[in-house]
């Protein structure tokens, strides 16, 4: 269960979104939408705990969340298997073969990740989610550079995750065909400039 209430978030000291509230129950998926630069990434990073909120509350069970950002965190000189195995071990799991199968990485398993195409790298990055065993997926633009077939693989993986009681919070611009997804349009939560942000005033 992920609960966010009355959240105000800032990027580089400037508030971008305010009053954001939502809850995510097991088996649910929430898609965050909004124009470029509105603060979707900042929202996801704040929920993932990478930066503190300005105000508001994020209630998330400890050790239950996994974040996947714009970059996949892939080491170019390690093979596909070595990359996945590393993340599996970091999260205390052994099974990475299911993830390789789910994203059809079998034929690429022994290749150095640096030799993969952008879409293949992304598939590897998404396969990492499966080896973490975490319940809440926080995904920032997960389908960038994926072809339709790979998007279908991703949707299958998300559905499987939801069926097992998982949750997903993702920012995306394209329609994934996830009919069950709730949509949060953050354009309506654009923050007014913070009153106490009179930076020059402090020096006058």
């Amino acid at each position: 269960m992920l609960e966010v209430s009355d959240l105000t978030i800032a990027r580089g000291g400037i508030a971008v979104l305010e009053g954001v509230s939502f809850t995510l129950a097991p088996g649910q998926v929430l898609v965050v939408r909004g124009p470029n630069g509105i603060g979707k990434t900042t929202l996801l990073r704040t929920v993932a705990g990478l930066q503190p909120p300005v105000s508001g509350r994020i209630a998330v069970p400890p050790e239950s969340l996994v974040y996947a950002g714009h970059s996949d965190g892939i080491k170019a000189t390690l093979t596909v298997t070595e990359n996945l195995k590393f993340w599996a071990e970091v999260f205390g799991h052994k099974d990475y073969l299911t993830a390789i199968e789910a994203f059809n990485l079998g034929p690429l398993a022994t290749r150095p990740a640096g030799a993969l195409s952008a879409g293949q790298k992304r598939r590897l990055g998404l396969a990492r989610l499966l080896v973490t065993g975490r319940a809440i997926w926080v995904l920032d633009e997960p389908t960038v550079s994926l072809d339709t077939e790979a998007v279908a693989m991703f949707v299958r993986a998300v559905r499987g995750h939801l069926a097992a009681g998982g949750m997903a919070l993702m920012a995306t611009h394209i329609d994934l065909g996830l009919g069950e997804a709730q949509v949060l349009d953050v354009a309506g939560y654009r923050a007014k400039p913070l009153a106490d942000h009179d930076f020059d005033g402090a020096f006058l």
Binding site: L65, V66, G73, I74, T77, L78, E82, F86, V90
Partner: protein
Amino acid sequence: MIALLLRDIRLAMRAGGGFGLGLSFFLIVVVLVPFGVGPQSALLTVIAPGILWLGALLACLLSLDRILALDWEDGSLDLLATSPLPMEGIVSVKALAHWLTTGLPLVAAAPVLGLLLNLSEAGYKWLIISLFLGTPALSVIGTFGAALTVGLKRGGLLLSLLVLPLYVPTLIFGAEVARRGAEGFDVTTPLLMLAGITCGTIALLPFASAAVLRVNLR
């Protein structure tokens, strides 16, 4: 933790990983010094401990920006920060991996290079001991510097400027152990100081590095 250590060591060993960068720099410095000094073996004996220590320190400095910058660039640092590993553990393991791939080879290579500098016979033992005790501090302090500058494009210059003053105590006492050892004096005081600096940095700096890294990831 062990997975992260093994991954970092494996990455360092692979092509472009930077293993051997510090070592070859150390080799170059030490090989070139006798040419610069000229054929005066007595003078070389005198300066050998200091040159060896300075060479090891600069070689260590060379690879510092790789400790965290590469992980930051490809996004692994964000993912590691949201993983079950505590941030203090991550920076400690990274420092350990840096020492194993940079510091330890320097310790191993130092006696061979000591020969080139006409190091006195009694000096070898203390040179190895002082480097073995001192280089972990260089890696831990360097990781702190790397955490401070992570995310800065071309932060290498700033990193060197930040880290070099912090390296001075280690250099002074490390080179002093090697010098006194080479000249046959008692080494207890500088040896204890060197060990103290290393233990202190290993105990305290990971917390500072982790705190700085959390701020830099925002």
